[in-house]
């Protein structure tokens, strides 16, 4: 049978880049936001804010529903600790879910998404179809959110359409389409 794959475009979310000031540890930034800031490529969440580790001293803050001035609020909370740039409009965030979601992302990105290697709190900054993307696993279904630079979304959908078509094909029980 075909592998399940649902794709949904998310809206209303907040997204912001947080870059630690020189010498400011992750702990201080996490404390200001009321969570433990991840020190590696994983995410943590609390109080409606998800903090995704995207590089040394760099995080992507993500929130489900925010006001247009969410970024300014974040900057105030992190004043003196980190630089904050609102990126809420910069990316289209797609939610891919179902067994086919893992296959789709694995076909796009050279990242080991096996549950043993890519856990439900994992984050990755990589490229799919020559487009720089950030994606993270949301749950063990598996469900992934993927942030795609807005200007590239047409080309990204081109890749996703072709890839999803193959995944949704009925296939023999022994393999994946």
């Amino acid at each position: 049978m075909a592998e399940a794959l649902t794709i949904r475009t998310r809206s209303g979310f907040g997204l912001a880049t947080i870059t630690a000031r020189k010498g400011v540890a992750a702990g201080a930034i996490g404390q200001a936001l009321g969570l433990v800031a991840p020190a590696g490529p994983v995410w943590t969440a609390a109080e409606g804010v998800m903090l995704l580790g995207t590089g040394p001293g760099v995080w992507l803050a993500h929130a489900e529903t925010v006001s247009p001035f969410w970024g300014d609020g974040l900057r105030q909370r992190l004043a003196g600790l980190a630089a904050v740039s609102d990126q809420s409009g910069a990316c289209v965030v797609l939610r891919l879910s179902g067994a086919g979601a893992r296959i789709a992302l694995r076909r796009g990105a050279s990242i080991d998404l096996d549950p043993a290697a890519f856990r439900p709190d994992a984050v990755v900054v990589t490229a799919i179809a020559h487009i720089g993307v950030t994606f993270w696993q949301v749950d063990a279904v598996p469900t992934y959110d993927i942030a795609v630079p807005r200007s590239f979304i047409g080309s990204f959908h081109h890749w996703l359409d072709v890839t999803a078509a193959a995944i949704r094909l009925p296939v023999p029980a022994s393999g994946e389409a």
Binding site: R21, A82, G89, G154, A177
Partner: protein, 984 residues
């Protein structure tokens, strides 16, 4: 029909119709095209590359050099497909190639008569005179006469997919050694990927009659595969060829997803390109049987002995009725036994080894056997008989329509040399073996020179245990497999002397024994030179059946041992890979990703034509009904903007936020001018140099707060500038407390320019005071538009009173619509980058033509911007004598003396009366446009001593597009040089 009455791994309940050269035949599910042709008695399948000799089927695998056909028709036609690897499907249509008018009667076979002319390297020696004939006559003729199939010139209708695999152990080859290795690793819990190019696993077990653990090899295979399929940690990939090994333990593979189907299902890719990252790998790719080199060894009906066994055992197809087996190895005798089991007459077994007769005991006594004998010539096409030379030297002819030749086995280790390690000669197996394997890889089974079945199974287990131990997996009780250790002795026979007809070494490239001898005589004694001079092993089969014979012949010709002569390195791909599989969906419009601005679709609805600017699609102009051409449209856009107002999407500009206590300090070091003195709420134009002192980019810097800046870059250099900034803050001055992030995607920006710009913008921001006194030229503010954060900048590229307004990108289209709606009340126009370009040329602003990586700030008239009070990147190198030479071309304006004439970018500048030679060249036109404001063509140019030559006349020499034009040198600022409008 040559189909055996019973046996074989074919499904006789599923007949499949197919055609070859227009004639219709029937095969069965499980057949290859080759086995189906054999089962239908077809023996002549193709014509050879150079001599157009009739060729049949040599092998039963991917090493096939002869049976190349064009598979399918029209846009799916695939030339040079190996009949031995094509799975039969209903409706399959194949045609022979490289023949005219027909396969049976090929006029080009006349080449055989001219064979003395076509020896190795003939194209280096013949057709030399007259030289001009080479390109127009000789080469086209040779190319037409020599060749393989013709490519379809139609677009490929199929799609190609991509996949990534990660595993602890990659097993390349699903024969006995590979299956044993995969079982061992799979049972231990390791993540395993097992790859095989066939449609089913089993390798040699499918074509032989040996038993494993007391059951038929095929049954043992089925049980092993069933167990592997039940393990969640094992991935089985059939119809997949690992074609290359790369750094970082990366393996490239091609999965033929739908090649076995008449055509892919809708949405189904034809093939899938795999990149596999494997911590460890086992190369269980088996071995390839070698042909023997004797006269007529390429005739249809002469086959590899292992292929004969495979056709008989696996496909129940009889390649002949009366066979002769010519062998230098024990495996040839197995083929003789297989033939007899299938009731095919074996006329004789000829073993070149003096003691070869010891194996005769394996056959019934009524089969004639010869030891120390050879086949010297084969006759007939298809084969009718062979001449043998017995041990006593006597020649005897034996009638036969099938000759099975067994020259011994060459480990299939091509992949092992992909990273540059040359294989080494093994006396014990009389073949080359991997010396230094790619990191993490071990050969196993026949690929490691372990030829007998029992030993290969044990080797597969042992190599897996070794790999697993490296990875920390415990193997409590490794499997033990009982199998016959059949004789696998061989005494290679590299060449049969005394043949009267051509003896081929490389079948596909028509390289003969005499070609190799000739190459050696002519001094091509290095194995790499031999390969290139004779083209041995350079055909689509990469010499899988020919390399070793060729190298042995070269060694003999040069008096070296084979070990001394050495062998060549195998490079990827191991087999031909369709270029479409590498491209995937990146072709046509999807060749590379495309970037669209947030208002792209809306702009399209407003009549925008788009042009590529890097990856971006930018609106070029907005044509209106009734406009005759683009020039009329652009003229209107410029005139309306300068007369009233214009709206332009500038979202593609690079945008970077710089933050931190040391942000201003870093910016002082990045820009030639001082940024730290910029007040909050103000914008400054800035120029960056590269380390070598040349201009890198220009743009604006806005101070949003004491420690927070917003930079713009040109569209083209957005990524380069971001890299430059990160390099500066992370590598050059890591001590600075400064952060930088690209926000290019976050903001949609629109320029509103023209005399009515203020009123237009004011309508959008009614509560914000846009008066000059409150918001002067080069002011900026973070504000709110319709409850959204917005940024407003009083900057101008057009030279008009202008504002740039930016909102979050996801609201960009809403802003564009709002601007347009308000703009219509003022008679404003939308304008594209063509009008933008005209207006910046009219204002003398440098653009792409001037920021060309060869100009200094001084060249562009911005030498005074370079601060002497601070250090900045490029400062020292900008002071080099070459970059400060007084005769460097610098920015000037040009206008044609005759206003009807048009200047073109790229034209060269010559003094009047000077000859049009490079020595007289004084510069070139960098940008040109028709100025609707002035009513004539204008241009920017870089001209030696340009600043001192305003008013002088010069010749604009444009040999490509038109006659010389006389132009007057002038200031590069054509419109509003006092800057009154911009401050309006």
């Amino acid at each position: 029909m040559s189909r055996l009455a019973e046996g074989g791994l074919i499904d006789r309940t599923k007949p499949l119709r197919f055609s070859f050269d227009g004639r219709h035949y029937t095969g069965f599910a499980g057949d290859t095209l080759a086995s189906a042709l054999i089962a239908n008695g077809i023996r002549l399948v193709g014509r050879s590359f150079k001599y157009h000799r009739p060729r049949g089927i040599l092998s039963a695998g991917s090493e096939e050099p002869n049976a190349l056909v064009t598979l399918r028709k029209g846009d799916r036609a695939e030339p040079d497909s190996r009949a031995t690897t094509i799975e039969l499907f209903d409706g399959l249509a194949a045609t022979s190639q490289n023949r005219w008018p027909s396969l049976d009667f090929d006029m080009m076979a006349v080449n055989q008569i001219a064979a003395p002319l076509f020896v190795a390297g003939f194209y280096y020696k013949t057709f030399m005179w007259p030289a001009k004939f080479w390109e127009k006559l000789y080469e086209p003729l040779i190319r037409r006469a020599a060749g393989l199939g013709a490519l379809s010139t139609l677009p490929d209708p199929d799609s190609y997919d991509r996949e990534h695999g990660f595993c602890d152990l990659l097993v390349i080859g699903g024969g006995p050694a590979g299956l044993a290795a995969a079982l061992t690793a799979g049972r231990a819990g390791a993540r395993v990927i097992l790859v095989d190019e066939d449609r089913i696993f089993g390798g040699r077990l499918l074509g032989e009659r040996y038993e494993v653990d007391g059951v038929a090899g095929v049954d043992w295979t089925n049980a092993a595969v069933a167990e592997l399929a039940s393990l969640a940690n094992v991935r089985l990939l059939l119809r997949t060829t690992v074609f290359g090994i790369y750094d970082g333990r990366e393996y490239g593979a091609i999965e033929r997803v739908a090649d076995h189907l008449p055509q892919p299902a809708p949405g189904q890719p034809r093939q899938r390109f795999w990149k596999i990252i494997a911590r460890r790998a086992i190369l269980a790719s088996g071995a390839i049987e070698r042909p023997l080199v004797f006269g007529g060894n390429d005739r249809p009906g002469v086959m590899l002995a292992s292929a004969v066994s495979t056709y008989v055992n696996r496909y129940a197809a009889a390649p002949g009725r009366r066979a002769v087996v010519f062998t230098a190895s024990d495996s040839g005798w197995t083929t003789a036994a297989d033939l007899m089991t299938a009731d095919i007459q074996v006329a004789a077994v000829i073993d070149s080894r003096p003691d070869g007769g010891v194996s005769a005991s394996r056959l019934p006594h009524d089969v004639e056997t010869f030891s120390g004998a050879v086949v010297v010539d084969a006759h007939g096409a298809p084969l009718r008989g062979v001449d043998i030379r017995a041990a006593d030297g006597r020649i005897r002819r034996i009638e036969a329509d099938l000759l099975a030749m067994a020259g011994g086995w060459t480990p299939a280790i091509g992949l092992g040399a992909n990273l540059g390690s040359r294989p080494v000669w093994s006396e014990s197996i009389q073949g080359f073996l991997i010396d230094v394997a790619p990191p993490g890889l071990q050969p196993a089974g026949a690929a490691a020179g372990t030829f007998s079945l029992g030993a290969a199974l044990a080797d597969g287990v042992a190599k897996a245990v070794s790999a697993l131990a490296d990875l920390g997996f415990a193997v409590s009780a490794p499997g033990r497999y009982e199998a016959s250790d059949e004789p696998s002795g061989v005494t290679p026979l590299w060449h049969v002397g005394g043949s009267r007809t051509k003896a081929f070494v490389d079948f596909q490239h028509d390289v003969t024994d005499t070609d190799i001898a000739l190459a050696a005589r002519e001094g091509f004694v290095s194995i790499e030179h031999l390969k290139r001079y004779t083209t041995l092993g350079m055909a689509t089969d990469q010499g899988k059946t020919s390399q070793l014979n060729g190298h042995a012949l070269l060694a003999a010709a040069t008096g070296k041992s084979i070990a001394e002569a050495g062998t060549v390195l195998s490079r990827p791909p191991y087999g031909p890979v369709a270029i479409g599989a590498f491209a995937g969906h990146h072709r046509g419009a999807g060749f590379r990703p495309e970037r669209r601005t947030p208002a792209h679709d809306w702009a399209a609805s407003q009549g925008a034509s788009f042009i590529e600017a890097g990856l971006w699609k930018r609106a070029r102009w907005f044509a209106r009904p009734g406009e005759r051409d683009w020039q009329e449209t652009v003229n209107r856009e410029v005139t309306t903007t300068r007369g009233t107002a214009g709206i332009c999407d500038v979202s593609t500009l690079g945008k970077i936020e710089i933050e931190g206590p040391d942000a201003a300090l870093l910016l002082d070091r990045l820009y030639i001018n001082t940024i730290s003195t910029l007040p909050v709420g103000r914008v400054r134009y800035g120029v960056m140099l590269r380390e070598d002192g040349l201009v890198m980019d220009d743009g604006t810097v806005t101070r949003l707060a004491e420690d927070r800046f917003f930079l713009t870059t040109t569209t083209a250099n957005a990524a380069t500038v971001m890299q430059h900034i990160d390099h500066a803050r992370q590598v050059i001055w890591p001590e600075l407390d400064v952060q930088a992030v690209s926000v290019s995607e976050q903001w949609a920006s629109f320029s509103v320019a023209g005399p009515e710009a203020r009123r237009l913008a004011q309508r959008l921001l009614p509560d914000f005071d846009l008066a000059n006194s409150a918001f002067p030229f080069m002011a900026a503010v973070e504000t709110v538009w319709q409850t959204l954060p917005a940024r407003l900048f009083r900057v101008s590229y057009s030279g008009e009173l202008a504002y740039e307004i930016a909102v979050r990108a996801d609201h960009g289209e809403v802003l564009a619509r709002a601007l347009h709606t308000v703009g219509q009340e003022f008679g404003a126009t939308l304008y594209g980058i063509e009008a933008l370009g005209v207006m910046r040329i009219e204002k003398g602003h440098p653009g792409g033509g001037e920021l060309n990586g060869q100009t200094t700030a001084a060249d562009l008239g911005m030498g005074r911007m370079m601060s002497r009070k601070k250090d900045f990147i490029g400062q020292v190198m900008a002071a080099r004598p070459g970059l400060t030479a007084p005769d460097r071309p610098c920015l000037v304006g040009l206008r044609p003396v005759d206003p009807r004439q048009r200047l073109c970018a790229g034209a060269h500048l010559l003094p009047g009366g000077a000859a049009a030679v490079a020595a007289n060249d004084q510069g070139h036109v960098t940008s040109a446009a028709f100025s609707p404001t002035l009513g004539h063509s204008i241009a920017l140019a870089l001209l030696a001593h340009g600043a001192e030559r305003h008013g002088e006349r010069i010749v604009v020499h444009d040999p490509v597009r038109g006659p010389d034009i006389e132009a007057e040198i002038c200031s590069p600022v054509f419109v509003d040089p006092e800057g009154i409008r911009v401050h309006g």
